[in-house]
Symmetry: C2
Subunit: 400 residues, 2 copies
């Protein structure tokens, strides 16, 4: 792998100083048939995602070029630009273009500065092999405050992954780019099935702000250097890796002061459990209360009730119980609160909060919200974040 | 009508000074069979809503008592407390209890201070007739920064309404209380049908933060003093009244710096149009960009695409057009932006914004977002608000 930087003037906005763009190339020694992708389902997907969908049909893949700052979404000639870039990388590598992915993240609507990007490619490609995974994780960062890199042992080799993403994280990926690598052999279909299944249970169950981005992509490649392990073993390792990476993304959310884990149990079915959990974790009122370390637990039940009233209006909530940080705050038809409980909850929220300034993940604590509907067997679990002043600040003028 | 105040110590939270509660009574000279209600569909509805659902079956209604500060939701013995209060009002009025509504708004989980409330009732009821609609609109305010009162001419009489609500406003009402009065005769069923239909198109199409509250209620009463008008005329007047009140609520949203109107046209069906409009108006990324007067129009299409990808994944967006404030910013498959367009959009966003400090609605401007999917006949329109620092501040520690 290799990383580089360039500066450019966007065509769409006059700027006094050129803007910085980072590039990162991840290239395998040999093309592999064992590659997979999970891509955003946003109907307004970016050109790199449209191109990636096509490349999934190719017999072999060699690697990927990632750029920051310009997402290449909705820009004139976006697909042509992505293909120009793809060809330029192929040219440097003496590889076939259709074996190379290009991924972009950044501002929507701006045109990719293809020319300066192509000028950087000879240097970038000739320095392949000089960078490591931490360089790669760092190069794809945008509003991330620290690189996100995880690795698990697998058979005689390893399974590693880097992700970028720190906002707009929601079911079905969000502004997330993930690159997963393994040197353990795995069949093409086995890898694809495992990645789809695992992403549904990890990256698709995190939610920072309820939007699903135009550019989300997780790619996986196997270099097939070491012998294969069993399908179950592979999937289990991939699940552990992606669960860690997904949580890293939430923990590094834009302005996140609390990571929130919502578990809804005892629902009539999984869809109802997921919808209730999502309504809780996406509720601005719940998110702001948690940000303020204010145990305004009524808002949690109001959010759940809002979803249940829509999806399962006849559900009987008389046995419902709510726990925060293990403390039962609702049961037997009413809140179980009081002075001491309120104090314990405030203290708990403060204890699991994240410091405002951080360049590394300071701990792995979460606000645990468990809602037991006591009216069925189904369960769902979602990760999310609170809503802070910092989030507004980061997002009110992202492009300047 | 009459209004009053009291102070109380909540059982659930030790406070140094007692908390203020406001009460307002709206009582008709005679009971009327022509009354109607639209109530929250939240599955975790408050005791006053549960009681109101029962009262809709009664032949006659006389009026309503409204209190602030304690919502009577999820508190032990909540329904009994609501009924105690109802009986106490009836007692003062020498009226049958089942002809009186009680509505509460405020903190979820706290117990209604029934005793001090009952002590205030004799004074409150004996001063009926001394207050006017503006007093009523003022008495039901909570985080509202100004009273919301509208009136339209109808036949030989009038149709008037007051609302309270300034946050948590979302499809299916939110923390909103509305009281609608007319002296024009209208049949019971005609009133109920008109109110349901009109609420669906007005109060249920505003969205501040995506939650649906436990306490929302709009009640309507006719004193039947003047002759009836045609059903169409009545419904039209009610629609105008409620549309104005709904917009007032959004304009007074907690920390609202921009009112946003989203119109999605050319959708295959109304559900798809509504879902896309709701995703745009509820997207924290869109809301924060508008708050920052940053025309980050990509986020609007990303939000719409997020909804469309889920609901109508095969929709053809090649003819899609996006207009902001009448300016076309997307069409012919790409953004139609540039230096001048960006400047015009920023200026526009600043022009239609609301000043931070206000005790009255300074203007009726809105950010107009029109998305034409060009793939069908259906249309939907939603009102919402941006997401500001002030919203976080108000909601991070609402209860203290």
């Amino acid at each position: 792998m290799a990383t580089g930087r360039l500066e450019f003037f966007p065509a769409e906005k006059p700027v006094e100083k050129p803007l910085p763009m980072k590039l990162a190339a991840l290239v395998l020694d040999e093309p592999t048939p064992s590659f997979a992708a999970v891509l955003t389902r946003n109907a307004f997907a970016g050109a790199p995602v449209v191109l990636a969908r096509r490349l999934l049909g190719e017999p072999l893949a060699r690697g990927v070029l990632v750029n920051t700052k310009v997402a290449n979404v909705g820009a004139p000639g976006g697909l042509e630009d992505a293909q120009l870039l793809q060809k330029a990388v192929a040219n440097e590598l003496k590889e076939e273009p259709q074996r190379l992915f290009v991924l972009s993240t950044g501002v929507i609507g701006w045109k990719l500065p293809v020319e300066p990007m192509c000028q950087l490619l000879p240097d970038l490609i000739s320095s392949l092999g000089q960078g490591d995974l931490l360089d790669l994780a760092t190069a794809i960062m945008t509003t991330d405050s620290y690189p996100k890199l995880r690795s698990v042992q697998l058979g005689q080799g390893r399974l590693c992954g880097v992700v970028k993403g720190a906002g707009m994280i929601e079911p079905n990926l969000a502004t997330m780019i993930g690159l997963i690598l393994t040197d353990v052999s795995v069949g093409r279909e086995e890898l694809r099935e495992a990645l789809s299944a695992v992403a549904a249970d990890t990256f698709n169950l995190i939610s920072v702000d309820g939007d699903q981005s135009t550019s989300d992509a997780v790619l996986a490649f196997s270099s097939r250097r070491y012998p294969a392990v069993s399908a179950a073993e592979f999937r289990d390792a991939l699940h552990r890796l992606c669960a860690q990476l997904a949580e890293d993304v939430v923990r590094n959310g834009e302005g996140t002061a609390h990571v929130i884990e919502v578990i809804v149990r005892g629902a009539p079915d999984r869809a109802t459990a997921q919808a209730a959990a999502r309504q809780i974790v996406n509720s601005p009122l719940v998110k702001t209360a948690i940000y303020g370390n204010d145990p305004n637990v009524g808002r949690i039940l109001a959010a759940a009730g809002s979803s249940l009233g829509r999806i399962a209006p006849d559900v009987d909530l008389s046995g419902m119980q709510l726990f925060i940080g293990g403390l039962r705050v609702y049961g037997e038809g009413c809140f179980q609160l009081g002075d001491e409980a309120e104090k314990r909850l405030s203290t708990y929220l403060r204890q699991v909060s994240l410091p405002e300034v951080r360049d590394y993940p300071p701990h792995e604590e979460k606000v645990l919200i468990e809602l037991d509907l006591q009216c069925g067997p189904a369960e769902a679990r979602l990760l999310g974040s609170d809503l802070s002043h910092e989030y507004i600040k980061v997002n009110a003028d992202y492009r300047s």
